[in-house]
Every structure is written in structure tokens, then in C-alpha cells.
């Protein structure tokens, strides 16, 4: 009798915990903190977090299979770039199933076109800036690379231009809604949504088994990175963490919540990366790409326009694709193909490569001490500005 009662109490606790994690909203800043921690854990384990590198690997692989590229890229199964991005996609898929939010969401034709065009812009921008908003900005700033600041300025300009386009579109191109049908919903009385959590749990288990198999094949690092990617995917899907919003919303609605969450996240990530690099545990040049300043700034602008038009950045497009949004699936595919081609194009010319810029590792110029102080101060000012703009709407652009 009392055993029954105890087990039902335990069941209640578990059910509440599940609903807390998968049905309720997580605050944005929690996402920021968790991403910051995962970013440091991922770098400590093997390498910094990136998204565009994985997409490029898939693009390279595709063009090599169809015979356009003559060299063979690293197999997507063992490339750490590819595995991280695959994990992100998988994690978002798992989280959206566990929270009953997965469904194939069709979009109107204009939206699909925006996904394609946005994906192409992001592919070009990421090839120039040495990564997307993650590898070119978030992880690069954590890695104390100055090109991240160039890309951040570019992203702000690009987001502003992209928003101007969205306003224009709102006036001139009214897109028709698709209606309420979900493509994945069959009308034969089978309630797909009810079994989603079970499919999700199974998918999560499959990821763990995959990591275990990597381990037995002496690819422990790759297996671990798969799990890191899955963790990013779950965190980001549950918080709906969106880098686009950090750059776009201050202009659009004045909202500064995501901008602040990213500042908090970078605080953690910068301290962790600095510790790993300063102590010599990780190479100093890691994620310091040759993109200061032309590649970072101009790539950032192009990427910024693309992410606002597509409605998702590097990480954002991937997790929304994992949730079943067709528009963002197209964006991811176009991103992968374009970034592979454009990177190959840049690499084919010495002049272009040089034009993208230099590696600028800040501690080489102003020492670690002042780099860390300077970057944290910079983030603090950005945090204050985002909050100040929330109150005054000084930067907000009217329609």
C-alpha cells in the first residue's frame, strides 16, 4: 500500500520534471548560460563549437560524390565539423519530439524562396567570415580573435538591411498563408503527436548508442562531440535560442532579451576559452581565422542579410530544420552547397584569400590580461546598450 503511494509520488515528481523541461518555456538567459558552459566543455573535450564547418563538409562531400570536386573531403562520419552539426540537428529533432512540437511545417512559396535566398547569402557570408554566427562570431570571440568583432559589426549592419527588406516585403508582397494543415498529420485517426515523446526517447537512445559505437571504434572524441552537438540541439530548441534575434530585435521591436542572453553566454565562454588557451592546454591559433577585417565585416553583412531573410542563422536554421520547418530545411541545404562552392572559389585564388584578411589573435597585441578585460567590458557595454534601447527604443526602426 505505502509502496504504491511512494511510487506514485515518485511518478508525480518525474512527470512534473518532464513537463518542466519539455513543455514549459525555459528563460532565455538559462539558454545563454547553458550554451556558454557547453561551449567551454566542447572546447575542453576536443575543439570549439561550430556549425558552418559541418555544413561545408556536407557540401564538399556532395560535390565530390557527383563528381564536381576531384579531391575527396573527410568523410562526414568522422569529420568533427560534420558530427557537431549533425548532433545539433539530431538534438533539436529529439527535443522537438519530446516536447510534442515536431511536425513537418510547409510554408507559402514566397517563404520557401526566402529560405533558399537566405541560405545562399549565409553560405557566401560564412565562407568569407571564417564561419557562421557561431564559428565566425560566438566561438571566434571566445577564442579571442579580433575578426569576431568585425563580423559582429557586419551582422548588425546586415540584420538592419535585412529588416529593411522585410518591411518592404510586408508592404509590397503579401504572402498567402498555407492554412492549418500539417503535412505529417494523417487523418486516419492515428494520433501521431501522442507517440512523439516515445519516438524522441528512442532517437535520444540511438544517439547514445552511436556515441558508444564511436568509442569502441577508437573514435571517442568524435562520439563525444556527437553528444555535445545533441546537447546544443536540445538546449537551443527548448529555449528557442536564436542569434538572429540578438542582432535583429533591437531594431525591430526594441527587445533586448536575447542580446543580453548572448552577452552572458559569451562571458562564460570567453573566460573558459581564455583559461584553456592561456594555460597552453589548447592551441592559441584555434578558431582565429584569416578574416580581419574584410572577410569578417563584409561576410558578416552578407550573412546578416541572409539570416534575417531566412529567419534563422547557422545554428538557428539547423535546429528549426530539425523541428520540421521546410523553409529552414531549404535554407540549410542551400547554405551547405553555397558555402562549399564559395570557400573553394576563395581558396582557388591567392588574391582573394589575402583580401579576406589576417589572423588577429588579440593577446598577441595587448596581452591576455587586457584582452579579457577589454572583451568583458565590451560585452558589458553591449548588454547595457541593449537594455537602454529597450527603454528608449532609440535604435528601433519604424515600419
Amino acid at each position: 500500500m505505502s509502496e504504491n503511494r511512494e511510487s506514485s509520488v515518485l511518478g508525480g515528481i518525474l512527470a512534473r520534471g518532464y513537463s518542466r523541461i519539455f513543455f514549459e518555456n525555459w528563460p532565455m538567459w538559462v539558454g545563454g548560460v547553458l550554451i556558454g558552459i557547453m561551449s567551454v566543455v566542447t572546447f575542453a573535450w576536443a575543439r570549439p563549437w561550430g556549425v558552418a564547418g559541418g555544413l561545408r563538409n556536407w557540401g564538399d562531400w556532395f560535390f565530390s560524390v557527383v563528381g564536381i570536386y576531384h579531391h575527396k573531403p573527410l568523410s562526414p562520419v568522422v569529420s568533427t565539423n560534420s558530427i557537431l552539426t549533425f548532433g545539433l540537428l539530431w538534438g533539436a529533432f529529439v527535443a522537438s519530439l519530446l516536447s510534442k512540437q515536431f511536425s513537418i511545417r510547409m510554408a507559402p512559396p514566397l517563404e520557401l524562396l526566402k529560405g533558399i535566398v537566405g541560405g545562399i547569402f549565409m553560405g557566401v557570408g560564412a565562407a568569407m567570415a571564417g564561419g557562421c554566427n557561431v564559428g565566425g562570431f560566438y566561438s571566434a570571440l571566445s577564442a579571442l580573435s579580433f575578426s569576431a568583432i568585425a563580423m559582429m559589426i557586419g551582422l548588425l549592419i546586415g540584420a538592419f538591411l535585412g529588416l529593411k527588406y522585410l518591411y518592404w516585403e510586408l508592404e509590397h508582397l503579401p504572402s498567402r498563408p498555407t492554412g492549418g494543415t500539417r503535412a505529417s498529420e494523417h487523418k486516419e485517426g492515428f494520433n501521431w503527436v501522442q507517440i512523439e515523446p516515445y519516438v524522441g526517447a528512442f532517437a535520444l537512445l540511438a544517439a547514445l548508442i552511436c556515441a558508444f559505437m564511436y568509442n569502441t571504434q577508437a573514435y571517442t572524441r568524435v562520439g563525444g562531440l556527437l553528444l555535445c552537438g545533441v546537447a546544443f540541439g536540445i538546449i537551443i530548441q527548448r529555449t528557442r535560442f536564436c542569434f538572429v534575434r540578438a542582432f535583429r530585435d533591437p531594431f525591430m521591436t526594441g527587445e533586448g532579451e536575447v542580446a543580453r542572453a548572448i552577452c552572458v553566454s559569451l562571458f562564460i565562454s570567453i573566460l573558459g576559452f581564455a583559461a584553456l588557451k592561456w594555460t597552453g592546454l589548447r592551441g592559441e591559433s584555434v578558431y582565429v581565422s584569416q578574416a580581419f577585417w574584410f572577410g569578417g565585416l563584409v561576410g558578416g553583412i552578407i550573412f546578416g542579410i541572409g539570416m534575417v531573410v531566412a529567419g534563422g542563422c547557422g545554428s538557428g536554421s539547423v535546429w528549426r530544420a530539425g523541428e520540421g520547418q521546410v523553409k529552414l530545411m531549404l535554407a540549410v541545404i542551400c547554405f551547405a552547397l553555397t558555402t562549399s562552392l564559395f570557400k573553394a572559389f576563395i581558396k582557388s585564388s591567392k588574391g582573394l584569400t589575402a583580401l579576406m584578411g589576417h589572423r588577429v589573435f588579440l593577446p598577441d597585441y595587448i596581452t591576455y590580461k587586457w584582452t579579457i578585460t577589454g572583451l568583458l567590458l565590451f560585452l558589458f557595454v553591449y548588454y547595457l546598450l541593449a537594455t537602454w534601447n529597450e527603454e528608449t527604443e532609440k535604435f528601433t526602426v519604424e515600419m
Binding site: L166, P177, G180, R240, T253, E255, G311, K327
Partner: protein, 79 residues
């Protein structure tokens, strides 16, 4: 509570993803007058977080939401 609401305007954002539902809502509200009620249809899961936050920030009253078949109805009272 949201069952008895008769909206003055309905905005159909089904199939659109972030940020289009918010932008369209902002635009539609701009054309409405104080006290009127706007109903928004959306299929984007993000709208469940974004619309209440938007209403709170801009001072409009968020009346609630209701799940329908394959989409959600949101109700906002213009300030």
C-alpha cells in the same frame, strides 16, 4: 476564457515562421483602434513565446491562446 471572444480582426499567419507573425501583428495592430481585439492564427511554435512577450513590451493586453486543429489562435486587445 478565450472561448467567448469575438475578434474585430483576424490575421492568418499559418505557415509563416519567425519573425513574420510578429511583424504582421505589429502592422495590423497599427491600423486598429484602441479596445479592439485582434485574433492571430499561427503554426510557428515560437509564436507562443513571442506574442505574449511582444504584447507585454508594447503595452497591448494579451488575452490568451487556444489550440485549434494544427494551429493556435492568439488574442490581443489593442491598447
Amino acid at each position: 476564457m478565450v472561448d467567448n471572444i469575438t475578434p474585430d480582426e483576424t490575421l492568418d499567419c499559418r505557415g509563416l515562421s519567425c519573425p513574420m507573425p510578429i511583424l504582421k501583428t505589429k502592422k495590423t495592430i497599427g491600423k486598429m483602434s484602441s479596445g479592439q481585439i485582434l485574433e492571430v492564427f499561427s503554426t510557428d511554435p515560437g509564436t507562443k513565446n513571442d506574442l505574449p512577450a511582444f504584447a507585454k513590451r508594447t503595452g497591448h493586453e494579451y488575452l490568451g491562446e487556444k489550440d485549434d486543429e494544427g494551429f493556435t489562435r492568439f488574442f490581443i486587445k489593442v491598447k
